[in-house]
């Protein structure tokens, strides 16, 4: 009986280990594949001309992705600020202000946002947001602004649920102490609870950023995909993800390799974001 239990335990352990190993292996394979496919392009085009070049014209073998890098960074930054702040306010409401019944009703609705397929976000953006932008501000409508609006909505669920979890993890004694000292509810929330949850909230920001920079389908539909440096928020842009998804199906030779190299650049950005997330969490722990 006991031996059987032990054997089962071992089988389970091995099973879990294999599953974890599969995940790590998948990551390793993707990285190796991307790098192997993209590195030949780096040696032919040159890494710096590739990253700093502003002309993307595959038929003339001109491959510069500076416009795409700018588009990805600007749209992600915009979405992180807009969606991040709205999401934080939302999380504060759910965790601190709203009565339990209201919070219980709003929470599932916000989580539902995460379940909407990204192509639906994109289509909504193309049919509703883009025409509104043209109407209010002029221009083509398909623009950096449209991307920021759509991405902001898409990162809300991530931002709200992570930030709310972080806020709820703050010990009740902090709030009680603050209130007992005569601070108002708002003062307690903004000066005590929020700073105490700093690392978790920061992590929520960073992870939302990761979601924004990797989004593709919704972005392709509203970005306009013009491979040129934007001079205003109303100009069409082509983020890194859109560049790959648009052209990979037809590309061959150096063009294809350049797209894989675009993928390597994107991967580096995401690795950077993940490192930032780790630092945010660790920094918070050390500070407390």
């Amino acid at each position: 009986m006991k031996r059987m239990k032990k054997a089962l335990e071992r089988v389970a352990e091995t099973g879990f280990f294999l599953c974890a190993a599969a995940a790590v292996l998948a990551l390793a394979l993707i990285v190796v594949f991307l790098v192997a496919k993209g590195v030949p392009a780096a040696s032919k085009i040159g890494l710096w001309p590739f990253i700093s070049g502003t002309v993307w014209q595959p038929s003339a073998e001109k491959f510069g992705i500076a416009p795409m890098i700018a588009a990805s960074l600007l749209s992600t930054l915009g979405a992180a600020v807009a969606g991040g702040l709205i999401g934080l306010a939302c999380a504060l409401l759910l965790a601190e202000v709203a009565p339990r019944a209201l919070a219980g009703m709003m929470r599932p609705l916000i989580h539902l946002l995460a379940g909407i397929p990204s192509v639906v976000y994109g289509f909504f953006g193309l049919m509703a947001v883009v025409p509104l932008i043209t109407q209010w501000f002029g221009g083509t409508g398909n623009s950096l602004l449209a991307v920021i609006v759509i991405l902001s909505a898409m990162i809300l669920p991530t931002m709200v649920s992570l930030a709310e979890t972080a806020l709820r993890a703050v010990p009740a004694a902090y709030r009680e102490g603050s209130l007992a000292l005569g601070a108002t509810k708002m003062q307690t929330m903004l000066r005590v609870t929020l700073p105490a949850a700093k690392s978790g909230v920061l992590n929520a920001f960073v992870l939302s950023t990761g979601r924004a920079i990797g989004e593709t389908m919704a972005v392709i539909l509203v970005a306009g995909n013009r491979a040129a440096l934007p001079s205003s928020i109303l100009d069409p842009v082509r983020p890194l993800t859109a560049n790959i998804a648009l052209e990979l199906s037809y590309a061959s030779g150096l063009h294809e390799e350049a797209l894989y190299l675009t993928g390597v650049v994107l991967l580096l950005f995401i690795v950077g974001i993940n490192i930032a997330s780790h630092l945010a969490l660790r920094g918070g722990k050390g500070g407390r």
């Binding site: 089962l8 038929s59 049919m127 043209t134 083509t140 995909n225 013009r226 199906s249 037809y250 590309a251």
Partner: protein, 294 residues
Amino acid sequence: MRKKSMLRMLALAAAAALLMTGCACGGETRAPEGAPEGAGALSGEIMVTGSTSAEPLVAALADLFMEEHAGVSIAVQGNGSSAGIRAAADGSAQLGMSSRELNEEEKARTTAHTLCMDGIAVIVNKENAVTNLTKEQISAIFKGEIVNWKELGGADEEILLISREAGSGTRDAFEESCGLTEKNEAGNTVSLTDESRALIADSTNAVSTTVSGKPGAIGYVSLGSYDGNLVTAVDVDGVACTQENILSGAYALARPFLLVAGSASEEISEAFLQFALSEEGQAVVREHKYIAVK
């Protein structure tokens, strides 16, 4: 108790696995029955190379042909019309694919069979008053030389180009037939479309939707995907974009897809040609939204 439930789960999983493999086996045994009796009279392999735009269609035809003739293997490779015609002429491939008419020299060395026609509709917003453009005007619009519809007799509205991503077959065909390409020093064919003024849509549908939503927009789609309820197709040089006008050769933005037979033509390639031009083959052509010739 816990062990029992775990055992039960294991048993369930095993049963499910058995069921699944059972299904797969059933599928496998059924597959050969679907193949027609008496197939296998033909056997061997042929090579078809040429136009990358024609490649997906010819590959679909080849798949269907191979399903019916188990012993036949057809390799379809896209490397450009000129290379395909050359391969057919010198015998390195049994058939060539071309998405342009042959020149005199090529005609002398090979026999071309028209597989289908591909027409491109130039579309504008429903509100646009301009309904006729010359090929030169279209070319100038996409080069960025004409930037406002009032220069063409329309409203005072800036022209917004809606193009496709680099490498798209529709884009290649459009640029080729409008003279929107040139050879650069390195010998590459380079697009002359003014991309700094264009939006890039990733599919025919996205082009139509974008054009329908923007008054000043102009784009192009394959005729098979044109939806007259959404956008307007302009006449080119006074000729409407219809199947009849494309088949008669009156409409300028059209090109044929040719299968080119040369010195290495043999039994299988003849049979494949016949199949491609048969009712069954032409149905595949229509499925791919090209204009059947039969």
